[in-house]
């Protein structure tokens, strides 16, 4: 039977199991006017293609199902580039379907034309071009397979108008994919796994360092089992939060530049480092010449390029963390060893570090400390098992430092690229996937202003996201860096004129609230959570607060900075 390309596309997406797409229409719109009214899946039309693409990332991270974006040609697709780059570095499985002028006029600079495949070549895992309606099913199948398998990533499918409007055969959706140049390795090498088990069995001061790969491969269960068997203290990267419940006794906290001191101490003093689905990012390693020198490194990753990219690895294992963990756990279960007892000295060092470098901030009368507000939000919502989204900056770090979560796929944040304004779109995507869950968006005032246009989308689609704007009237992290390293401390980082976020919310049909005094914080948060529909809470906080502790770029654990000025004893507020 012959169908239009758009009909074939929609059939293919349905066969692929797509239930929600995020998008922004345009002249060269993929569905074709005939398909617009009667789509067999939910179409969340956003106000900006970048928002739609971040929302697809949020949808993917929250569900594990590939996010889908539908945008128009040229400017529509070009607006997605930042979010596609974000998805590449954070391994988010999304498929971006972009319209294009007819193939015959490609490259003729027609209205709203851009070389989108060329533009996105450097920021996609793969890009595909469908020249005929007949090709669409195979190309869609390949796109979703490549996006989700191996190390997940964004795939762009460019669909010229003649492929979409033209007619073609639909001989069913392909069941198999065969791509001769693409064959991700799932199972780790058994010999290497055995060697890793032997090394772990002899370790005296080991640490497990997990990353986003555990979340992507749905390997939390196996990961927790590894921790249980071996009783090894465990830290996670920003992207890996949620892989181990934060109330687990062996949970150290997030590591890295702004990480928990005792998590970093373990990384610098361990004898065996067990890296799982993490990529030794510069925010983790600090000064490379001083990192991992004292220990043997086991590194499991599905992406061979992640291994031995930044640091020397003693036992590399290429494979899906889930399968490798199953095999590794099997080996380790047979090891006869009283793990916990042998690590007692090591645990003692961690306890000593906790006493020496507790997380702390200076409590002051009459102002809301951002750490206090964020801690309260997390404490008061913990029992709701919320999906927590953040933007990028100080608020993100503070949230990650005291993150409380018991399950994976509840933590949506932009890691590798650090894309400001990520919070609201990610929350939109997470809430679209789980309409009945509590979805929190903890954003900075700077980032919020990059994507607040989509408050109306929340109302339109009845997505009750609770947004907390941690408002320090500026770009806090930028200000902090300038103040620490520059003679012009506030250069361009103060946002001197802010919109009234309460009125703004009101204008969009969203409930707006403001919290200005410490004593209002608890009641304000509770009220926001109980208010039906989307809410924006403007939390006015101390402006000059810095994120601590810091291990500055190019330094190591011994150079840790616990706080700015020494804090008088009676004003110290410990918070973890």
């Amino acid at each position: 039977m012959r169908f239009t390309g758009s009909e074939i596309l929609v059939k293919s997406l349905v066969e692929e199991g797509v239930t929600t797409v995020f998008g922004h229409p345009g002249d060269v719109f993929l569905h074709g006017p005939d398909m617009l009214t009667d789509l067999p899946f939910k179409h969340v039309r956003c106000r900006h293609p970048q928002v739609a693409t971040h929302a697809a990332e949020g949808y993917y991270k929250a569900t594990g199902r590939t996010g889908t974006v539908v945008v128009s040609s040229g400017s529509g697709a070009a607006n997605c580039v930042t979010a596609i780059t974000d998805a590449l570095i954070d391994s988010m499985a999304i498929v971006v379907l972009s319209g294009h002028d007819p193939a015959a006029v490609m490259g003729c600079d027609t209205s709203q034309e851009a070389d989108v495949v060329g533009t996105t070549r450097a920021c996609t895992k793969h890009s595909l071009l469908a020249l005929k309606a007949d090709h669409i099913p195979r190309i869609i199948k390949e796109a979703y397979y490549i996006a989700r398998s191996g190390r997940p990533g964004p795939v762009l499918v460019d669909l010229p108008k003649d492929a979409i409007m033209g007619r073609g055969e639909f001989r069913g959706y392909p069941k198999d994919v065969s791509i001769r140049g693409y064959n991700p390795q799932l199972y780790g090498h058994p010999g290497q796994i055995k060697k890793a088990a032997e090394l772990i069995a002899q370790a005296k001061r080991p640490v497990i360092y997990g990353g986003g790969g555990i979340i992507h491969s749905d390997a939390s269960e196996e990961f927790c089992e590894l921790v249980e068997i071996t009783q090894i203290p465990t830290t996670l990267t920003l992207m890996g939060l949620g892989a181990l419940p934060t109330n687990h006794p062996l949970w150290l906290g997030m590591l890295g530049m702004y990480g928990i001191p005792w998590a970093n101490m373990c990384m610098f003093n361990c004898d065996v480092m067990i890296a799982m689905g993490s990529r030794f990012d510069d925010r983790i390693t600090g000064k490379l010449s001083e990192f991992g020198k004292q220990c043997k490194v086991i590194h499991v990753d599905i992406d061979p390029t992640s291994i031995q990219k930044n640091i020397k690895v003693d036992i590399p294992i290429v494979g899906d963390v889930k399968y490798v963990l199953r095999a590794l756990n099997k080996e380790l279960r047979n090891v006869e060893r009283n793990w916990a007892m042998e690590f007692e000295e090591w645990y003692g060092e961690i306890e000593a570090c906790k006493k020496q470098h507790p997380l702390r901030y200076e409590q002051r009368e009459g102002v809301i400390k951002p750490q206090f507000a964020i801690d309260m939000i997390l404490r008061l919502t913990e029992d709701y098992d919320p999906i927590i989204c953040t933007g990028v900056g100080q608020h993100q770090i503070w949230t990650a430092q005291v993150y409380r979560g018991r399950k994976p796929r509840r933590w949506l944040t932009s890691g590798g690229l650090g894309t400001m304004g990520y919070g609201l779109p990610a929350a939109l995507g997470g809430q679209a996937a789980f309409p009945n869950s509590l979805v929190l968006n903890i954003e900075g005032d700077g980032g919020f202003q990059m994507s607040m246009s989509d408050l109306c989308t929340l109302v339109e689609h009845n997505l009750p996201v609770k947004t907390f704007v941690i408002n320090n009237k500026g770009l806090g992290m930028v200000r902090q860096w300038y103040q620490r390293h520059s003679a012009h401390p506030s250069s361009q980082s103060d946002l001197r004129h802010q919109p009234d976020f309460v009125k703004l919310a009101d204008a969009c049909g969203v409930a707006g609230m403001r919290i200005e005094r410490p004593e209002e914080v608890k009641a304000g948060i509770e009220k926001a959570i109980k208010t039906p529909g989307p809410v924006v809470v403007d939390v006015v906080v101390e402006q000059e607060e810095h994120c601590y502790p810091i291990i500055s770029a190019g330094t190591a654990i011994k150079d840790i900075i616990d706080s700015g000025e020494p804090i008088p004893d009676k004003l110290i507020q410990g918070w973890r």
Binding site: A122, Y182, Q308
Partner: protein, 191 residues
């Protein structure tokens, strides 16, 4: 770590899908990662769905390991082989137009003869020579022609092929892999 071994010249042979944009993806990747590339040449193989790319690059062991992994990661790249790990034959063709005024004409022809270069075009004041060879031969010829004045030079870029009879393989386990047919390469199948 980077810089612990000396930087060396490598010839990489890539079998890639013969599709629009594949060369751009490879070139873009090499540029984005800051790798040093001396030469690139591309052409179809006997199977017209597959192209063969020959890259001449420089890097220490650390860089080369990453580069090969990064190239392998490209979905449209079917296979990457570092020919410099084995015995191989390397060639480049050049077309060079050199000044040939009457006192020099015989000398240039003598040089051309020694290098087995062909005269493919001539005027009263120039010769255009065609010559093939490995990098050092081409370089030697150009040095000899330089004093006469080289007016124009075109190079194809290096191509290379592994020796069929690998009498002295430095890494014997690689031999079988290199002899493998493209079609036999395992492909990903998902149900």
């Amino acid at each position: 770590m980077k810089g612990q071994t000396p930087s060396q010249r490598h010839i990489l042979t890539l079998l890639v899908e013969n599709r629009i944009g594949v060369l751009a993806k490879i070139a873009g990747l090499i540029a984005a990662k800051g790798y040093n590339m001396d030469s690139v040449s591309v052409g179809e193989t006997m199977d017209n769905s597959v192209s063969r790319v020959t890259l001449v690059v420089h890097g220490d062991d650390w860089v080369m390991e990453q580069m090969v992994k990064q190239l392998n990661r490209v979905v449209d790249v079917i296979k990457v082989v570092d020919l410099t790990e084995e015995d191989f034959i390397e060639r480049e063709m050049i077309l060079v137009r050199v000044n040939a005024d009457s006192p020099d004409r015989a000398e240039i022809l003598r040089i051309a003869d020694i290098f087995r270069a062909k005269v493919v075009d001539l005027t009263h004041r120039t010769y255009t020579l065609e010559v093939t060879g490995a990098e050092d031969k081409i370089q030697a010829l150009l040095e000899l022609l330089r004093p006469f004045g080289i007016k124009e030079l075109v190079r194809t870029g290096r191509i290379a092929i592994g020796r069929a009879n690998k009498s002295l393989p430095r890494k014997p386990e690689r031999v079988a892999e290199n002899g493998e047919d493209v079609e036999k390469k395992s492909s990903a199948v998902v149900k």
